[in-house]
Symmetry: C2
Subunit: 324 residues, 2 copies
């Protein structure tokens, strides 16, 4: 695994693709791979792009890639596609888009399909982004389809988040999901040649004015990705936000929050799984479920009791013991 990491570091794209597949599949050894990746220097700028289906994210990402390549930067694109495993949307998109990019060795494109578990996908995304960072790309674009909680979670891994909308009711400001307005660093009104673009832009500006003031004020940029309109302005906004993050010290905070989110994610899986398994083995869980069915208990109380039983406190804690 250490060798695979070294191959990725030296720019071996096939090794990177193989490593990503291992992590995506949760294959044996993938955990060691991720461990090694986290212990290897990484300096990529991570840019997140999110928005509802149909706002033209793929074209926009392609346009941003062109802009970054013109500036001499290498780019990796990770498309997180939570399509149903039955439809295989990710693979389809991959093939179409790969074709456009295979000629340029400084561009890497990969989509991650969910295999049914969005939570797992979010976790895998953090690990995959770390692997891509090891490969030394100047920029990593992470693109999500849709705008639900899983997309908000994925965006935690980005330093700069672009939220993409289009003019018109279906994707208007009114339909922005909880948390999306809050996480946007740059707002993009794509397909700005459609009627209503000015109104959507104005609505966004109004919403943004209602955000707590101070620090970075997200710009609203109109683009027509398919014809390249506004892409240079968008690239400048991305640069400006990154400069702001660095000069304000917020870049360090974002990296920390990303680590914290990742720890939290792993903790959830590990602890909750262990406790439920232990409670199941001991028969405790069965008794709790029966009591719930009989209307003699409630889930919050059950969880409190289980947490109290399986969490150490005071003298029994190995942490305290190891330090005392």
């Amino acid at each position: 695994m250490e060798e695979l990491i070294q191959m990725i570091r030296r720019g071996d794209r096939a090794a990177l693709a193989r490593a990503i597949s291992l992590v995506e599949d949760g294959a044996p050894g993938s955990r060691e791979l991720v461990r090694a990746a986290y212990r290897t220097p990484r300096n990529s700028r991570v840019i997140g792009i999110t928005g509802a289906p149909g706002v033209g994210k793929s074209s926009l990402v392609d346009g941003i890639v062109d802009q970054l390549r013109s500036a001499g930067r290498s780019v990796a694109v990770i498309a997180v596609d939570p399509s149903s495993p039955f439809t295989g949307g990710a693979i389809l998109g991959d093939r179409v888009r790969m074709k456009r990019r295979t000629t340029d060795p400084q561009v890497f494109f990969r989509s991650l399909a969910s295999r049914g578990h969005l939570g797992g996908l979010t976790r895998a995304t953090g690990d995959v982004l770390t692997l891509v960072g090891v490969a030394g790309f100047d920029d990593v674009l992470v693109e999500t389809v849709g705008a639900g909680q899983s997309e908000v979670d994925v965006m935690k891994y980005a330093s700069t988040v672009l939220v993409v909308l289009t003019p018109g009711l279906g994707d208007s400001v009114q339909t922005l999901k909880a948390g999306i307005l809050e996480i946007g660093d740059v707002f993009v009104v794509n397909k700005a040649d459609l009627p209503g673009a000015d109104r959507t832009g104005a609505e966004l500006e109004m919403m943004l004015d209602m955000r707590p003031q101070g620090g970075w004020r997200p710009p609203v940029i109109k683009t027509v990705a398919t014809s390249g309109v506004g892409l240079d302005e968008l690239a400048r906004a991305i640069d400006a936000h990154y400069e702001y993050l660095k000069s304000s010290g917020n870049l360090k905070t974002r990296v920390r929050n990303r680590f914290l989110a990742s720890i939290e994610d792993y903790l959830k899986r590990e602890m909750v799984d262990k406790v439920l398994k232990a409670a199941s083995t001991s028969g405790e869980l069965e008794r709790c479920l029966a009591a719930l069915e009989a209307g003699e208990d409630d889930p919050a109380s059950v969880a409190s009791r289980l947490a109290a039983r399986y969490l150490t406190a005071g003298p029994c804690s190995p942490l305290v013991r190891s330090e005392g």
Copy 2:
């Protein structure tokens, strides 16, 4: 709180509305309220309705309410609307739809806004559905906007899940999110008077044929909710699925899974929060974050160590002690 529960049981709608607000806000006493609700008999049939924005869920829900009312059943509608707190979508929808229903005392409508945290909303939804169950409605419809992970989570609280699509590319079968196809008990192609309805229906049938066979085969029903087309067929499908759940014993399984999901949700919050807090207080977390920044550690390893330190095992476990 016990008194409030008794008022809800006697059919006091104002008391129910007040109780829901308490739970939604996480107000003092709301936990006791929920505890009491879980210990009170409830027999409502819970029907979930999910689908992307624009598929006509509101009209469809209104149509289903009409069907259920014609059959003499009382109905509560809980609309889970994760719109941004900045846009207040939920409140707007509430006002418009409330007006249509205020004349019928056997219909209760309430929307839940997210206040920024989708995870919290999912949790609150389970508690609110329990409160509504105490009020004795024959049917509770729970409607979510969008089709992300949080929507899938909310649908865990339903016995019968309707997945709504429309003809056309934007909302076609290809764009169905992970997990949505898997949780649907009845599929609805709404706006079936639009071009492409037959194709969308056929695609769905094909996808459903790929699901593991045996048990319930979800029907695909075409509706035009605004003109009432297909609603009687839909109501029959809902009844048929519920009969299937009862006769197969799967209703009990679903109720159990719902309790389990709720326990898991509370456990996550309680344990992860406690461990992170303890690790933060002890300075351990700060050391871990510094090591991560220096590339000397990785999040999965940090989480494993924290879990091992704060989870009891063997002789220290009060659970084992209380039974030994």
